[in-house]
Subunit: 370 residues, 2 copies
């Protein structure tokens, strides 16, 4: 499965795997794909350095990348405390009431919330980059808009390709104008922040909008058939995030959450502002229902909502409160029905892709060629 | 482009075109696809007979089908007047106020509303079938659930295949259990009534759910690349509705509406209950905004909403009130940018399909075969 982009990056298959887990990212690269480590959870640069050291030891020399969350709009001199002060008391009370209603215990004294807003702030992302450019990363992806011009220049100086996520053709063109190298077209069905245009429509629109820049299709892809479909739509590869959450190398720190993911169907996700204030697809839970309820206070804009719910999300995860426990994940969760190694998942993807190609060749009457 | 299903029906391309216009349906069949005439607007059986006579004269002996709207749940002895009586006065006033706000003129005295609820009632659909089975239709599709068992039997006695639309794998399985022959998997991005699972995810789920029954992919398909993608996903063909609305053979009775369709982007539709009471994708307008506004009265359940807005929709269409003028259409509207003949659209689809197949073959490294 070779495209111009996969050849440029020196990978065997045009399959890009986004994951917050170094063990998963390294396994994807070793399997012949391109592992992309999500950096949002690294608030301390030395933690990122430690995990990139680990990656270096475990990718067997294969290429990999890093995904940061750098907001397009820079907010100067605003601290986390400033943002905290903007949260209405009624919303804080709603969080307390909802947690109390479900009997969610408090964190132990001095126990930090694991899920922090700070990873979303530009300075944190810049500190991450200072670390990352010391490593031979081949790709830098940004999940929120185009990275600033100086970051793109710095990446190019390090021979690092820059990718940015887009939910519309207009958004994709904006990225191209900013000088990025790869557009990740994130369809409605994708996990995490996503727009309303489905992959079937978005992928070819993005391809047409930014050609000859390469587009990766993201959203709804978790099988070789879906990879073949995305490539037929003009993508130069696929960007898969959700699928790795139930691999044996992933470390969700919650068997209950893994069980929920394995049991969920494609209809069990919702595009909700509950987690960050922007629409993000995730498991539908009583927590998302509470925020999406027209009778409730509703969500706050980004970054307030993320800050507001950070501790609550940590508590829900730590105590595995079944009915509230969720995670960003796409509609492809319906296909994630067993815990398997990254290599086993990868073998399925490539085998399924070859079968889908056989099928299309047969239907197109190119049978004499197979 | 040949699948088992297209061979069974004797068509050259596995492209099924759904349309309310006989001239479009006939042109699709003549072009080598399978035209499916939507029957919902025929309240009088003799009008349907007249148009089927016309079809017979214009399909050049090629096969075609009929699409009816037969509700899964039968409501015995309920008249249109009974349903009318269930509509709250506040909702009627909201319709009057919204039309007045936009200066929409009244219909002339005695002028009937063109858009009627009655086509949605079972008896009307049964009268349509009495007519249709006198013609050599090859396919009967139902847009609302599985048809009743006696209708399926009657179709099979006439050697007519039965298709039903499904928005989820569970829904598809229910149809299969009812004895239908073809599932049309209608993705989130489709025009008209649709669920929340996007085609990229829904198509393979439906295929797995009902195999070996054939699945047609619907939603988001308007190019040869998208047809190749749908076939890679396991579909035995594609079901296209929106794409034909801007063909020269279509008769929308509204140049303003055609212009809106040609200008609209993929982000200009909304999945709204405004038209029928069930979520249906359509152009987003100030009319859909009014119904979807949390400050408004909200929509009524099917069939009340359809009855409530029938006359208003006729007035908006007749007087081409720009900001309110809409129609069911999918996200593929972003690709409908010129008025062309059905044959020209068809040529584009088949050419684009061959190019997409070439592309997939190249990426898969089967290049030596091409």
């Amino acid at each position: 499965m070779q495209t111009e982009l996969s050849k440029k990056l020196g990978v065997e298959h045009a399959i890009f795997g986004f994951t917050p887990f170094p063990a998963v990212a390294a396994a994807i690269s070793r399997a012949g794909g391109f592992g992309v480590l999500g950096a949002v959870r690294y608030t301390a640069p030395d933690e990122l350095a430690r995990d990139l050291d680990w990656m270096e030891e475990h990718v067997d020399g294969k290429p990999y990348g890093l995904d940061v969350v750098m907001p397009a709009t820079k907010v100067e001199g605003v601290t986390e405390a400033d943002v905290e002060a903007m949260i209405p008391e009624g919303h804080r009370q709603f969080v307390r009431d909802t947690l109390a209603k479900h009997g969610v215990p408090e964190l132990a004294e001095g126990e930090a919330s694991g899920w922090r807003i700070t990873g979303w702030m530009e300075q944190v992302a810049r500190n991450q980059l200072d670390v990352a450019f010391d490593y031979p990363i081949r790709l830098l992806a940004n999940a929120l808009g185009s990275p600033p011009a100086d970051v793109i220049r710095r990446a190019h100086d390090h021979d690092v390709l820059v990718a940015a996520l887009a939910g519309s053709a207009r958004h994709a063109r904006k990225h191209a104008d900013a000088g990025i190298d790869i557009v990740v077209a994130q369809g409605y069905e994708a996990g995490g922040h996503t727009g309303e245009i489905a992959s079937m429509v978005l992928t070819p629109e993005a391809v047409d909008a930014v050609a000859p820049l390469p587009v990766l299709a993201a959203g709804g892809i978790g099988s070789g058939q879906q990879i073949a479909a995305a490539l037929a739509l003009g993508a130069q590869g696929v960007w898969l995030g959700s699928l790795w959450l139930t691999t044996t190398e992933a470390d969700l720190h919650s068997p209950a959450l893994t069980r929920k993911l394995l049991a969920a169907g494609s209809g069990d996700t919702v595009r909700s502002r509950a987690l960050t204030g922007k629409p993000a697809r995730q498991l539908r839970t009583e927590w998302t229902d509470a925020w999406d309820d027209p009778q409730g206070p509703g969500t706050l804009p980004m970054p307030l909502q993320g800050l507001l719910v950070a501790e609550a999300v940590s508590r829900i995860q730590k105590y595995e409160v079944q009915e509230l426990l969720g995670t960003p994940v796409g509609q492809i969760v319906g296909r994630m029905n067993s815990e398997r190694s990254v290599q086993a998942v990868f073998d399925d993807l490539t085998r399924g892709f070859e079968q889908a190609v056989d099928r299309v060749i047969r239907i197109a009457g190119r049978g004499s060629q197979s």
